[in-house]
Symmetry: C2
Subunit: 356 residues, 2 copies
């Protein structure tokens, strides 16, 4: 069999909008410079009989930056994640994960079944040394610059040491994707007074202070300050992170809908709204999840990018760009080094150690 | 000493904007019909030498619906809550709480030091029988009708039975304040699939199903659906609730700011924005915390209402109205009854019980 050498393994099946939408997203990404980020071709994984016509339709059939890898089966959105992993070895998701496992690709992106992707990724790719649980990271827009929030749902019951590892993962992810040399990291809690937020937060706060300059730790942060750019990385457990992320998306939609109704209430307002249409479009584009469509599961030997099942081409293009940026920066080495230094500092800080 | 008989004990001191703003809020509330909700006068507690001139200034000095109760001291925002409670027995907050404890007032409202109010309220007023921990409830605006979220921060580490009690508290509060005969109650979590969200959520889900028609339980709800009116009461622990509430407020501000900048970007947009100014004002008013400014600590023998330290007169007026509505409905009786029925059903459902 011919040797495969790819950058990103793109699972083109399993999204709500079908493989053509994924391929359209790929085309947008390549047209917007994502191709330059990848030294090797992007491996588009799925049924050849659907992918080849789709690639032809968008004009990518002979593009050297793209290569189709056939996979017969597809894991459906409603399948039980672990069942699907056992039964559908020939699915596009598992074939894509195998490409990453074998070193033929450096990361995977899928908008398919979340549970299967998280479970399959963790089983196939294994966590990095020093990482107990992988964390799902998301990039969230704010007034000026976006920030990274993690964990957004992979590990709902995080311990202080999981949260400390999340801080290191998030810091390295932000450095690569947001191009911030020293990302400021905050720990999300419910009050910055001494003793507030419970023991788990207090213990995590202590760990993050003790690991010193491994990360740029800015301290505790309340929900009030989530969007005011005080930090670049917000650390929390997967239960809180998932709820915050989804609640904020829900609020954004409801504000948009409320405003739309108000702007259509009378003819004068309709004219006014038409004159400032650009501002609404900018707002929608700025706060929509499309720009940074991919939420990576960090902490595995290769990153696993999950895009919304309902991702449209713009969201997929954004996710491809983020994934290729992370591949280009090869953040695993730095994460491993950071974890090692952090571990040493924590050992030194323990009571009974020679330097404590 | 003359017998005091009041409805609400209003701590007029300790807010960021001073007692005059509180008195202005009181006047707005009375002008908007809040006076009709109160059979007895509202007791305005604080320094006479500041309150009497303030009442004179707004024209309430001789109003029979208002009565001043003198308190010499004020607890500051930055004081350590428990220290302040011990040292400042003569503070407006403690005097107001004592009025409620003695039965001279039926609830307290304060925009002062949160920790002191929560701690002092719990110590002085004691929880209702069957309530292990009081919960902070907030009313959150949505597209059509607002919903109640609790706990918004009183009890960051809630057990399943605390959460079950919150469901009963929230249901009764929503029935009174939102005038919904059978409020639909949802349990906030991170995925509605079997087993998701951790053991605590699963156990709470079981309890809420077992207590039957004590509440109208709609099941698990994800962050995505927070604002789409699927439920009237959202139950969560105080850590999650506080972060969700504050994050959403933070997002609302950032969207408003982003839109403002966009609308001022060029002269055409400025004209357009002027024409649809009304829609923006409506949006701001609808989603601002003013309308329902008071977050009550529920589950005590009398409700303790907390308004933001930075509350302006509109927010204070909203909080007064909510407090008087709750007083009028006297929800404690129904809460006690609901708790009793719930407890019986849970005992019956236990393995080993005759009916299980």
């Amino acid at each position: 069999m011919e040797a495969i050498k790819g950058s990103l393994a793109l699972d083109a099946m399993g999204g709500d909008m079908g493989p053509l939408e994924v391929v359209e997203g790929l085309k947008i990404a390549l047209n917007n410079g994502a191709g330059k980020l990848a030294q090797d071709p992007i491996l588009v994984v799925g049924r050849e009989d659907e992918l080849i016509p789709a690639l032809r339709l968008v004009g990518l059939q002979d593009d050297p930056r793209v290569r189709v890898i056939h996979a017969e089966e597809v894991i459906g959105m409603d399948e039980k994640p672990m069942n699907a992993l056992k039964k559908k070895k020939g699915s596009s998701m598992l074939v894509a994960l195998d490409l990453v496992k074998a070193g033929d690709a450096k990361a995977i992106l899928s908008c398919g079944n979340t549970g299967s992707l998280m479970g399959g990724g963790t089983i196939k790719l294994r966590p990095l040394d020093g990482i107990e649980r992988p964390a799902l990271a998301t990039i969230i827009p704010s007034l000026k610059q976006p920030f990274v929030l993690l964990d957004a749902g992979a590990n709902p019951e995080s311990t202080p040491s999981h949260l400390m590892q999340n801080a290191i993962l998030g810091s390295n992810f932000a450095r690569a994707v947001l191009a911030i040399p020293k990302p400021r990291v905050g720990l999300l809690t419910i009050g910055t007074e001494e003793g507030k937020g419970g023991e788990r937060i207090q213990e995590t706060h202590r760990l993050l202070k003790e690991i010193g300059d491994v990360i740029e730790y800015s301290g505790l942060i309340e929900g009030f300050h989530l969007f005011d750019s005080q930090v670049d990385v917000v650390v929390c457990d997967g239960f809180v992170g998932n709820i915050v992320l989804k609640s904020c998306e829900s609020l954004f939609h409801v504000i948009k809908d409320y405003l739309k109704i108000g702007l259509n209430r009378n003819p004068v307002r309709k004219i006014g709204a038409a004159l400032c249409k650009g501002a609404f479009q900018e707002m929608k584009a700025h706060f929509s999840p499309s720009e940074y469509g991919g939420a990576p599961l960090l902490g595995l030997r290769a990153p696993v990018f999950k895009a919304h099942g309902s991702s449209n081409r713009a969201a997929i293009a954004g996710a491809i760009k983020v994934a290729l940026t992370v591949i280009q920066h090869d953040i695993s080495d730095r994460i491993l080094k950071d974890l090692e230094v952090a571990q040493k500092r924590l050992q030194l800080a323990q009571p009974g150690s020679p330097n404590s």
